[in-house]
Symmetry: C2
Subunit: 235 residues, 2 copies
Amino acid sequence: MIKDRKSTGIHCSRCMYSNLCIANNLPEGELFKLNQIMSKMYIFDSGQHIYHQKQNAKYIYALYSGCCKEYYIDHEGDEVVKNFYFPGDLLAIESFTEQEYHFSALAIKPTQLCAIPKEEFLKLMNENESILKRYIHIINKKLNNDNSIPVTTNARRRTAAFLLNIFTRIQQRKREQNYIRLPMSQFEISNFLGLAHETVSRILHSFQKNKIIKILNKNIYIDDIDLLKSIAKSS
Amino acid sequence: MIKDRKSTGIHCSRCMYSNLCIANNLPEGELFKLNQIMSKMYIFDSGQHIYHQKQNAKYIYALYSGCCKEYYIDHEGDEVVKNFYFPGDLLAIESFTEQEYHFSALAIKPTQLCAIPKEEFLKLMNENESILKRYIHIINKKLNNDNSIPVTTNARRRTAAFLLNIFTRIQQRKREQNYIRLPMSQFEISNFLGLAHETVSRILHSFQKNKIIKILNKNIYIDDIDLLKSIAKSS
DNA sequence: CGTTAAATTGAGGTCGTTCAAACTCAGTGG
DNA sequence: CCACTGAGTTTGAACGACCTCAATTTAACG
């Protein structure tokens, strides 16, 4: 569903997550111009697609609320999850200078997104130094973080790194919370980590046995974050 | 060693690889300004460092000739190779908005680099739309290519994908060449692919046995690129 | 030509996968 | 309110890919 952004009352200056997003630290004039070009909100239910691979890419998106997964289907027909996105994250920036979206994006929670028209945004960057700097900074962070889970390590380490990554990102958004309500299934986690879903299940339960985490339905409580960190680092 | 770039006679307008680099398709005025800020050439022998992790990051670099590896040392003290770079490639862009370099870079061939001062370059991007567009395009390509070898696949597939990647990049630079002179050791390849170096050796020789490649010292001849491609795709 | 690094080859062990089956839980309809 | 359903998860067992360790051969370079 598409809504007029202004009618929703949503504005970067009132957004809880603007500090994570493009709007962070922008001078008032640039913030105003940025909101001018973001005229639309896209709203999706769980299970709905934001966009499909190879679809014409007119927008990038700032996630306002909810959660998405970005994925593609490989040659064997298996899903490969490239990333998960939370409020304040930008979607589709890897397709910014491309005609078509590289991946597909799907809402795994009810999700609202601010649509950023690429043409107008490029012009804004050209004319506003703070927006340019901010955008390049965001791309650079993506360049560094997307590689944060090493190419190859054992499954325990990958899984620990994943939990920490999600936990950190949720902590940044909601303060003082020692548990994660994982929005994605273990199957999706396994497709993200490149592991069998049985392996993910086994490792989560071995973490629980070692009193590192506690699993209650989809809630995961972090009991020993230091141990989790040491597992994520060392082999 | 550092040289004055002008004195070397090097200029984007005469560079064989400018089409791969920032200079691609720039209007003359922007090309001129770009060359104005690139006042220095950095020259290294094999085995010398371009920069070290955590070193103050004043420049990004355009590789003019030679070859580099980008790497870091993990918590176990093992080398993790993030990428290899060829003429026309940009180094250190992931540190563009950071104080310090994220990784270390080392010449694995005698190498010349055009140093691009970050501050001046940012100003250029702000004032010149073509340079901005071009740079964002380059970052986006990096974002997409760095993830081109899937998180997890079997060693055969990774190795095939690696050979194709290197082969394609060398083909782009030197026309009509059905062999690769690999500038990096099998040990470095294994550190890039996240495999044991013995595994890399075994797989290369299994490719040779299957008449996909021919290995002569460090030269690798591609005899059946279609088969190599199909290995890189399917599991 | 000699020294050292790089590559090859083999054997054994381990981690993660695959296949199969059982279980849990939320949602649906009777 | 309860049985049924199906997706998601758990658990077990066996296999196989890749790693590790060790020994040897080959290539690189002063």
